[in-house]
């Protein structure tokens, strides 16, 4: 029988063939183009941009949870790091332009921004700093956990504790980061007035393009040899180790990458909502990210995007129409997924790129 020497590219070819991801990337690009050519009402543009930021956040979690089996219940921390550094940049830029100190700085009786704000009025430095801090925090936490083989539910609980402790820290008013009121009142973005239609559109387009890029990049990653090791590690870590692979290094690398993608989402989110406060570090927000991923379809990057957009789209709509009903609707969605569609909403369309995926070995 022809044992196909000629097709070593089997897995690699399949990696490119993911119609859902390809479709979503196309949709992002088309939406970005449409926003530029014929922008709808600014509030819709803004909502779309926020949804794109949430979708990026969901992809970052799916990368570690769906493909590596590491459920983080603290991804809000990395999102918040991106958001806070972005807010600092926006305020620092405002101070550089107007000379007026933000309210919380005046409130503390300080006459200038704290020393560690130095240089944050430069966007490139702020971007590098946000990604570096998120990566570093993830590295320290991941290194300590993975090396001492903290796994499964223990890891999830510790990650939740971490985001909670960070929230308590950020509620303090003497950190120079806005305390319990957080930071708001961003005047300018790259010298343009913050709420102007051009800035709103620009931010939404940036978020959509970033989502397209993140989806493409992560899809290539999970379709590569590294992606196959990730699935192997998820399903049987000891087996992978005894074949000569350092799973600690693999997990640490992907974990840090995931944290930086989450930070990117935070960077894009904060200028669109115009505020950041310690609420983004609330444990329930971090749990909600996992809900988006589970609803859309764990272990499928397109599923994470669909889950994030669906839940948050519904939330935008309903929290205006009937805010008190939202928690019940979210709980109902979770129950529906757990009881009827254990593989997420993608079950509805029979979407199965790899049949035996999902929670653990058969």
């Amino acid at each position: 029988m022809p044992t196909t020497l000629a097709t070593p590219a089997g897995p690699a070819r399949r990696a490119v063939r993911d119609p859902l991801v390809a479709g979503l990337v196309g949709l992002c690009l088309a939406a970005a183009a449409a926003l530029v050519v014929a922008p709808p009402a600014p509030y819709l543009v803004n909502a779309l941009g926020q949804l794109a930021a949430f979708a990026i956040l969901a992809v970052s979690l799916d990368l570690v949870w769906g493909y590596l089996g590491i459920l983080s219940l603290g991804h809000g921390l990395f999102f918040a790091i991106g958001g806070y550094v972005c807010a600092m940049h926006l305020l620092a830029q405002g101070v550089a332009a107007t000379g007026v100190l933000p309210d919380f700085v005046q409130f503390m009786g300080w006459t200038r921004l704290p020393a560690y704000w130095t240089g944050l009025d430069h966007a490139a430095y702020a971007l590098v700093l946000a990604l570096a801090v998120a990566g570093l925090v993830a590295f320290v936490f991941g290194f300590a956990s993975f090396r001492s083989r903290v796994n499964g539910v223990y890891f999830s609980i510790i990650s939740q504790a971490l985001v909670y402790v960070s929230m308590l820290l950020m509620y303090r008013n003497d950190t120079g980061l806005g305390g319990n009121n957080g930071m708001t009142g961003f005047p300018l973005l790259f010298g343009w007035p913050m709420g102007s239609p051009g800035v709103v559109t620009g931010l939404a387009v940036a978020a959509l393009l970033t989502l397209a890029g993140v989806l493409t990049g992560t899809r290539l990653l999970v379709g590569s040899a590294i992606g196959r090791r990730m699935l192997a590690c998820r399903d049987d870590e000891t087996r992978l180790r005894t074949l000569g692979y350092s799973t600690t290094r693999l997990k640490l690398g992907i974990w840090c990458l995931s944290a930086m993608i989450a930070a990117l989402a935070g960077i894009l989110y904060v200028p669109q909502v115009g505020i950041i406060n310690p609420r983004v570090l609330a444990p329930d927000l971090s749990i909600e990210i996992a809900v988006w991923v589970a609803i859309g379809g764990l272990g499928r990057l397109g599923g994470a995007v669909i889950g994030a957009i669906l839940v948050n789209g519904l939330k935008f709509w309903l929290s205006a129409a009937m805010p008190e009903a939202w928690p019940f609707i979210l709980s109902g969605l979770v129950l529906l997924v757990v009881l009827v569609l254990p593989n997420g909403l993608l079950d509805l369309v029979g979407w199965r790129p790899r049949p035996t995926w999902l929670r653990g070995a058969p």
């Binding site: 089997g10 040899a225 192997a232 005894t242 000569g244 049949p355």
Partner: protein, 236 residues
């Protein structure tokens, strides 16, 4: 020079002593069978050799210089040790081909992989199933795939934990033939098995474990004649 020396190995789980001062030496080129009743400590012995369990005391020397009890699973694998688990351990989400590719280990250059994988597919008879996810294989196919995975890196020490459990008679005979074909002067094989006919067919010598201690070491024929072995194991 010996391929593997297990020297006064003691393993405890809490107060329970799973291995009690077990020693054995395997020569290069030898196929050694470890037999014994359930709970004798056979799997625990392989767990220590492959670095999954750390012993209370004792050493495991690979060649003359490397003490495996001081190393991680990945380092032990890199030193040339491969282990087949009692429960077939393949990666269910990956295809047969992808499983074998991972079995080649991180060190083998990418350009050498396709040829190695093609040869293995032939050897384990799964050529027609190369693109099937391993989670969908039958039990026997999984056993063979896992054997293929541990062979992919051409190990110097091969540990096989019940490789024919759950296989049909024909498959067992095929596996015995495969293992005999794997003998090489520079490779030692340690195989755990319950099936005495299989052990007789593949092993040069046997070690009988009972309640964490070595009961007998020598030829299979000698084991069959040994009074204590008969009493605890064969006679039942």
């Amino acid at each position: 020079m010996t391929a593997l020396v297990v020297d006064a190995l003691t393993v405890a789980f809490g107060r329970f002593t799973a291995l009690d001062c077990v020693s054995l030496a395997v020569d290069p080129g030898e196929v050694r069978a470890v037999i014994g009743p359930n709970g004798a400590g056979k799997t625990t012995l392989l767990d220590v050799i492959s670095g999954i369990t750390k012993p209370v005391s004792g050493r495991v020397m690979l060649g003359d210089h490397v003490d495996l009890t001081k190393r991680s699973e990945a380092e032990i694998a890199k030193a040339g040790v491969r282990r087949k688990f009692q429960e077939p351990s393949v990666f269910p989400a990956l295809t047969v081909r992808e499983n074998l590719e991972i079995g080649c280990g991180p060190a083998l250059p990418a350009r050498d992989r396709p040829a190695r994988i093609a040869a293995l597919l032939c050897e384990i008879g799964l050529g027609a199933r190369a693109e099937v996810p391993a989670g969908r294989l039958a039990h026997g196919e999984k056993q063979w795939l896992e054997i293929g995975m541990v062979l992919a890196a051409e190990p110097a020490l091969l540990l096989l934990d019940e490789p024919v459990a759950g296989l049909s008679d024909t498959e067992t005979a095929q596996t015995a033939a495969l293992i005999r074909a794997l003998r090489r002067p520079d490779r030692a094989i340690l195989v755990i098995e319950h099936d005495m006919a299989f052990v007789e067919a593949v092993a040069d010598r046997v070690t009988v474990l009972h309640e964490g201690r070595t009961l007998y070491e020598g030829s299979m024929a000698g084991a069959r004649a040994d009074a204590r072995v008969i009493e605890v194991f064969l006679g039942r």
